[in-house]
C-alpha cells in the first residue's frame, strides 16, 4: 500500500459514505413503503465495492448479485437512476422493471443485479470468453457471496474459467452467512480461497473491511488477470451489519459476534486512519457528508417525481426481434 494522499482518501471515503448513506436511505424508504419487494443492504461491506470498483477500467465488465447497490453506485450508475429503479419508475436504470435486485447498465458494462445465487458466474465466464476470443485485454469482475460457493454453477464456472485461462476476477464477498446459515454450516471447507486450488486457480484472501487493503488486493489480482495469466479468486472477509433482507428477523447471529464486527466498521476505520495520517480533516468529512446528502436528496426527489412506465409498455422488449405473435 502506498501512502495515502488527500485525493485518494477523498475518493475512498466518498465511495464508502455514498454507499452507506444510500443504503440507509433505502432502508428508510422501504419502511415508508416507497421501495418494495426484496431489499438486501450492503451496510458493513462497503469497503469491498469501494476498494475494488475504482481499480477497474471503464472497458472492464462487472457482474453482481442481488446485493449490488454498492457495486452499481461505485461503478458509476447515478443515484438518480438507482433510486428511480427502486421506486419502480421508468427513469430507473431498468425502467422500474428490475427493482433492487436487478440493476443493469449496458453503457457501463454493469451486468446486474442477478438474483439466482451463483447463476451469474457462468455469465462472467462467457464475458471473459468473448474478450479472450477477440483478444481484448479486458477483465470481467464477478461478485458473489460465500453461499454461492456451494452451488454447482460456481463449480462449473470456476473450472471453465481456469481451464480456458479466461480474464475473470472472481470476488467472493465472504460475509460468513448465507441468509441465516453460518459458513461452517454450509461449507465443509471454510477456507474458501483453498477451494481455488481444486481448479488450479490462483487465489488470495484479504480483509474486506479495510478499503485500502481491498484496493491493494484488487490491484494485485487485476494485474495478474490483465497480464493474461488466467482467472483469479479473491476472497474478501466481510460482514453485513444488517439483516439479510428486510424480511429477515435476524435471530441466527450471536449479538457479540455482530458487536465485534461492528468495531471493524469500514467507514470508521478508514476515516480514523485518514485523519490520523493527515490526509483528511473533520471539515472534509462534514463536507463529504453534505455532498452525499445533497446527492441522495436529489435522487429521492427525482425518483419520487418520476413517472412510472405506462402499462401499455408492459410487453416492450420481451424480445428484441420482430415476432409474428
Amino acid at each position: 500500500m502506498t501512502a495515502l494522499d488527500r485525493e485518494s482518501a477523498r475518493r475512498f471515503l466518498r465511495d464508502l459514505v455514498r454507499v452507506r448513506r444510500f443504503e440507509e436511505r433505502c432502508a428508510e424508504l422501504y419502511s415508508a413503503g416507497k421501495i418494495r419487494g426484496f431489499l438486501h443492504l450492503y451496510i458493513g461491506e462497503e469497503a469491498v465495492s469501494a476498494g475494488v470498483m475504482p481499480r477497474l477500467l471503464p472497458t472492464d465488465a462487472v457482474v453482481s448479485t442481488y446485493r449490488e447497490h454498492g457495486h452499481a453506485l461505485v461503478r458509476g450508475l447515478s443515484a438518480r437512476s438507482l433510486m428511480a429503479e427502486m421506486f419502480g419508475k421508468k427513469a430507473g436504470c431498468c425502467r422500474g422493471r428490475g427493482g433492487s435486485m436487478h440493476l443493469f447498465d449496458a453503457s457501463l458494462r454493469f451486468y446486474g443485479g442477478n438474483a439466482i445465487v451463483a447463476g451469474h458466474l457462468p455469465l462472467a465466464v462467457g464475458l471473459g470468453l468473448a474478450d479472450a476470443y477477440t483478444g481484448k485485454r479486458r477483465v470481467t469482475a464477478c461478485f458473489f457471496g460465500d453461499g454461492a460457493v456451494a452451488e454447482g454453477e460456481f463449480h462449473e464456472a470456476m473450472n471453465l474459467a481456469s481451464l480456458w485461462r479466461l480474464p475473470v476476477l472472481f470476488i467472493c464477498e465472504n460475509n460468513l452467512y448465507a441468509m441465516g446459515t453460518a459458513l461452517a454450516r454450509h461449507q465443509a471447507m471454510t477456507d474458501l480461497a483453498k477451494k481455488a486450488e481444486g481448479y488450479a486457480m490462483t487465489a488470495a484472501v484479504a480483509d474486506g473491511m479495510d478499503v485500502e487493503v481491498v484496493a491493494a488486493a484488487a490491484d494485485r489480482a487485476l494485474t495478474f488477470v490483465r497480464e493474461g495469466l488466467g482467472p483469479y479468486f479473491l476472497e474478501l472477509k466481510t460482514y453485513r451489519f444488517r439483516a439479510h433482507s428486510m424480511f429477515d428477523p435476524g435471530l441466527y447471529r450471536p449479538k457479540d459476534e455482530v458487536a465485534l464486527w461492528e468495531l471493524k466498521d469500514p467507514l470508521a476505520i478508514f476515516s480514523a486512519r485518514a485523519k490520523a495520517v493527515g490526509a483528511l480533516t473533520d471539515a472534509d468529512l462534514v463536507e463529504l457528508e453534505r455532498e452525499v446528502k445533497a446527492e441522495l436528496d436529489d435522487a429521492v426527489a427525482f425518483a419520487e417525481a418520476a413517472p412510472v412506465e405506462p402499462v401499455e409498455e408492459l410487453g416492450w422488449r420481451v424480445t428484441l426481434g420482430e415476432r409474428a405473435s
Partner: protein, 326 residues
C-alpha cells in the same frame, strides 16, 4: 380455531415429525432462520438439527439427497425455498425421482415430499415470480398438489408423506398470511379430488392455488351481475380430476380457467384440451383462459398487477364467455 395458512403448515410439520421418526425436514434456512416464509420457525428447537436440517445452497444436491434418503428408508420433506430455484433441481426431480420406479422395473419407489413456494405478486421481479407447476405436472411418476385453503395446508402434508411416490406441494407465497377458521381436529385430506368451492350454474371457473381467492372474489362480483359462477379448485394438478372437470362443465356449459402461469403452455391450456377431448359437445361458448401475460414479471407495482390475473380480468372473461363476445 382462527389460524393462518403458514401456521396450518407448521402444525402439519409438527404432527408429521412427531408421528413418524423417519420424517425429517431439510432445505435452505429451514432451521436457524426458521424458513424463508417462517413455516418452520421453532421446529429446530423442538426437533433438533438432525430432523430440521439446514442445507447449503445446493438445490440439485439436497433434492437428490432427499431422493436417496427416501430410497434409504426415510420420509424426507425437502423444502426448495421457491419454485424459481427448482430449475436447479429439475434434473433430480424428473430424471431421478419421477423415473426411478418405472425404469427399475417397479422396484424403487421414492416416498419423497418436496415443498416449494410459488407465484408472483410481491414485487420480486422476473427471476423470483415464476409458476412452473404445469411443467412438473407433465411428468409421469410425480404427483403434484396445490393447497389453496387452510384445510389443505393442514391436511395435505401427511397424506403426501403416506404416499409411496414423490409428491410436490406448491404453496403460493401470497397464501402464507391467509387467515381463517380451521377445525380443531382438522387432519389429513385426500390428494386426489378437485373440490367445488362455490356451486353455480352459469359458468365454471376452474383454478388452483394462489388464484383461488381471486376467483372466488370474482364469482361474488359476477353474482352481483346476475351470473352464477361455479368455482372448482383443482387441488391435484397431477393427476387431474377429470371427472370433476367434466362434471362442472357438463353442468354450466361455459368454462374459464384461471392460472397464474404464462398462458402459453399453461395448465389452463391442458384443462381446455381435456374438456374438448372428453366433453366436446358440452360447451356452449368458446372457453377462456385468464393467465399471466407473456412477459417476464416486472418489479413495478402497476406493471406487475397488469401482468397477473386479477379479479377484474376474471369477471370480464366470464362475462364474455356467458354473454358472448364483446
Amino acid at each position: 380455531m382462527k389460524t393462518t395458512y403458514r401456521e396450518a403448515l407448521k402444525q402439519a410439520h409438527r404432527e408429521a415429525l412427531k408421528k413418524d421418526p423417519r420424517v425429517f425436514l431439510m432445505g435452505e434456512d429451514v432451521g436457524r432462520y426458521g424458513g424463508a416464509y417462517a413455516v418452520s420457525l421453532g421446529l429446530l428447537e423442538e426437533f433438533g438439527p438432525e430432523r430440521v436440517r439446514d442445507t447449503p445452497l445446493s438445490e440439485a444436491g439436497f433434492v437428490g439427497a432427499g431422493i436417496g434418503a427416501a430410497l434409504g428408508g426415510l420420509r424426507p420433506i425437502v423444502e426448495v425455498m421457491t419454485v424459481n430455484f427448482s430449475l436447479l433441481a429439475a434434473d433430480q426431480l424428473i430424471n431421478s425421482a419421477a423415473l426411478l420406479l418405472h425404469m427399475s422395473g417397479g422396484q424403487l419407489n421414492v416416498p419423497l415430499v418436496v415443498r416449494m413456494a410459488t407465484g408472483a405478486g410481491r414485487q420480486l421481479a422476473a427471476q423470483h415470480s415464476h409458476s412452473f407447476e404445469n411443467f412438473f405436472a407433465s411428468v409421469p411418476g410425480l404427483r403434484v398438489v396445490a393447497p389453496a385453503t387452510l384445510e389443505d395446508a393442514r391436511g395435505m402434508l401427511w397424506t403426501a408423506l403416506l404416499d409411496p411416490d414423490p409428491v410436490l406441494l406448491f404453496e403460493n407465497a401470497l397464501l402464507y398470511n391467509l387467515e381463517g377458521e380451521l377445525a380443531d381436529d382438522a387432519g389429513p385430506v385426500d390428494l386426489d379430488t378437485a373440490r367445488v368451492r362455490r356451486p353455480g350454474k352459469d359458468v365454471s371457473l376452474v383454478t388452483y392455488g394462489g388464484s383461488l381467492g381471486k376467483t372466488l372474489k370474482a364469482a361474488e362480483d359476477l353474482a352481483k351481475q346476475g351470473i352464477d359462477a361455479e368455482v372448482l379448485d383443482l387441488r391435484s394438478l397431477r393427476p387431474l380430476d377429470d371427472a370433476a372437470i367434466v362434471a362442472t362443465v357438463t353442468k354450466t356449459h361455459r368454462l374459464v380457467v384461471v392460472d397464474e402461469a404464462w398462458k402459453s403452455g399453461s395448465l389452463a391450456g391442458e384443462i381446455i384440451a381435456r374438456v374438448m377431448e372428453k366433453a366436446f359437445f358440452e360447451l356452449d361458448a368458446a372457453p377462456a383462459r385468464v393467465c399471466t401475460e407473456e412477459v417476464p414479471i416486472p418489479y413495478a407495482r402497476a406493471q406487475e398487477l397488469a401482468a397477473l390475473p386479477s379479479v377484474e380480468k376474471i369477471v370480464a372473461a366470464a362475462g364474455r364467455v356467458v354473454r358472448g363476445h364483446g
